[in-house]
């Protein structure tokens, strides 16, 4: 039996016919939309490489059935820059060497963006490490990742201060 679903992906509405209900959001993004920035690491919810935003919240796309997400608003790593202007979290990862091989990086960046919106960690490195524990980095770039998140958070705080001033 075929199922039709509609999603908003990086701002554009996309309609799909699913001939198999087993398709995850991760496989839909990669295989149907060719948005291969979202990585398949463990495919079992343990590594965080597949992290995307769904309705503003970071989730593991490998453990989400596409068919269950009718109407969802999805943002992937391909959707965070504005043209050639990197998202501040992307720029901070480059500035602080927040990666080595780069495989986990899209998931790390999407997770960091989600975490900053959750506003639970602030600029406390210990809370940032805890709140980012769902993203593994086998190269061990954690120190750079935390520094990148701290800088991005400081930038966001500064922007908010200017706006409210």
């Amino acid at each position: 039996m075929n199922h039709s679903i509609s999603l908003t992906v990086n701002g554009a509405r996309r309609d799909f016919v699913l001939d198999d209900p087993r398709v995850t959001l991760l496989d839909l993004l990669r295989e149907r939309l060719h948005l291969t920035g979202t990585k398949k690491g463990c495919d079992r919810g343990q590594c965080g490489a597949c992290t995307i935003l769904v309705d503003g919240k970071r989730i593991n796309s490998c453990l989400a059935l596409a068919i269950s997400h009718e109407g969802a608003d999805i943002v992937t790593i391909e959707g965070v820059a504005r043209g050639d202007q990197l998202h501040p979290v992307q720029a901070a990862f480059i500035a602080h060497d927040g990666f080595q091989c780069g495989f986990c990086t899209p998931g790390q960046i999407m997770s960091a963006i989600g975490m900053m919106q959750e506003a639970q960690a602030g600029n406390d490195p210990e809370r940032i490490r805890e709140c980012m524990s769902g993203n593994l980095c086998r190269c061990g770039a954690y120190a750079g990742i935390v520094d990148a998140v701290l800088e991005a958070q400081a930038g966001a705080d500064e922007t908010n201060r200017r706006r409210s001033a």
């Binding site: 919810g45 970071r58 805890e130």
Partner: protein, 351 residues
């Protein structure tokens, strides 16, 4: 993953009817179920998607002072609800000590209660497992069983229930509201999970089609807010299941414990309420000696199921530590490392 039919009912009644069919399973966030299906451990014929049902994602304060938490409230939404975290701090801390932020954003209250064991032999379809396949045997008994049960286990099964959330919930007398073929009923959380006995595949009191629609905390549960903690020992300090955990909640009046609640996690096939230990604590001053006595009582029936005798002593020590920190007072903010026994603990006694 085995092929399955997918249905999305419009009402709870439709969901119950659809899920009562043989081979049907409810789908909520799916963070545990999909993992099990990918490994062919769970092989449902039909998924009944309840995520679109209305009215199950609310947190409501009831007229009698109880709190009703809809089954589809996410773990993160509940833990980050400021009023909830203030009134039930040990529950919020337990939630934030579980899984990862990504998983907590979607994993539901109902799904957390019904998550399956993390026994590696249950997950490995090449191994014998009485829970997965009745009568096949238990490879955990002579296998890697450091993390397995020390309470309530049987020769058939030594698996543990992995939930953090359930531990403070059972301590605070949580009630589970269930919609089934014969209408609505409710049971204490302490009666939801079953010990394995000879039928470890039968994990809960739920019947086919039964849908958990809410968890309720009675009015008395908020009386422990000033002295409530959850501590959890794991292989790493974040994003790992409990080896042993404990929830302690005290009502302290005039320097004495008016009422104590204590439960253990990671030690049995269910969240383990330690009522005999609570009795020891009632009416006495909160001292290291009485906490030690309570810890010994809490583990008095414990026995190793394999290479895990250490867990009994570990559980005693984590009980003492949790009681000590609860007596010292709930921190103003949940610690940066939720439930970590290694976090800095101002003024607390080392157990």
């Amino acid at each position: 993953m085995k092929q399955f039919d997918y249905v999305r009912p419009a009402t709870v009644a439709e969901a119950v009817a659809a899920a009562a069919q043989p081979g049907a399973t409810y789908l909520a966030a799916g963070t545990n179920l999909l993992d099990l299906m990918k490994g062919n451990v769970s092989r449902p014929d039909r998924l009944v998607d309840v995520t679109h049902l209305d009215g199950l994602d609310r947190i409501e304060r009831l007229a009698d002072g109880a709190l009703r938490i809809g089954a589809l409230v996410s773990n993160a939404a509940l833990a980050h609800d400021a009023e909830f975290a203030k009134s039930y701090p040990a529950i919020a801390e337990a939630l934030l000590s579980g899984a990862s932020a990504q998983l907590r954003n979607v994993a539901t209250v109902g799904g957390n209660l019904l998550q399956r064991t993390r026994c590696a032999y249950f997950y490995d379809t090449a191994s014998r497992c009485n829970k997965r396949e009745a009568g096949s045997g238990c490879d955990a008994r002579d296998g890697e069983n450091r993390a397995h049960a020390v309470l309530g286990w049987s020769e058939s099964c030594i698996a543990t229930h992995p939930s953090d959330f359930c531990v403070p919930l059972v301590a605070l007398d949580a009630i589970v509201e269930i919609e089934g073929k014969n209408g609505r009923r409710e049971i204490p959380l302490d009666e939801l999970h079953r010990l394995p006995g000879n039928t470890p595949g039968r994990e809960s009191a739920l019947e086919p089609g039964d849908l958990i629609v809410a968890v309720r905390l009675p009015a008395a549960a908020r009386g422990f807010a000033a002295h409530a903690r959850y501590l959890k020992v794991r292989e790493r300090t974040s994003y790992a299941f409990a080896i042993v955990s404990a929830a302690a909640a005290l009502r302290i009046e005039n320097g004495k414990i008016a009422e104590a609640r204590l439960a253990l996690g990671g030690v049995a096939a269910k969240p383990w309420r330690a009522r005999a230990a609570e009795d020891i604590l009632k009416g006495v001053a909160p001292t290291a000696d009485v906490f030690q006595e309570a810890a010994w009582r809490a583990l008095s029936d414990a026995k190793p199921s394999g290479d895990n005798a250490y867990k009994i002593e570990l559980a005693r020590r984590i009980v003492v530590r949790t009681l000590t920190l609860a007596a010292a007072g709930t921190p103003a903010r949940i610690p940066a490392l939720p439930a970590s026994p290694f976090a800095s603990t101002s003024g607390a006694i080392h157990a």
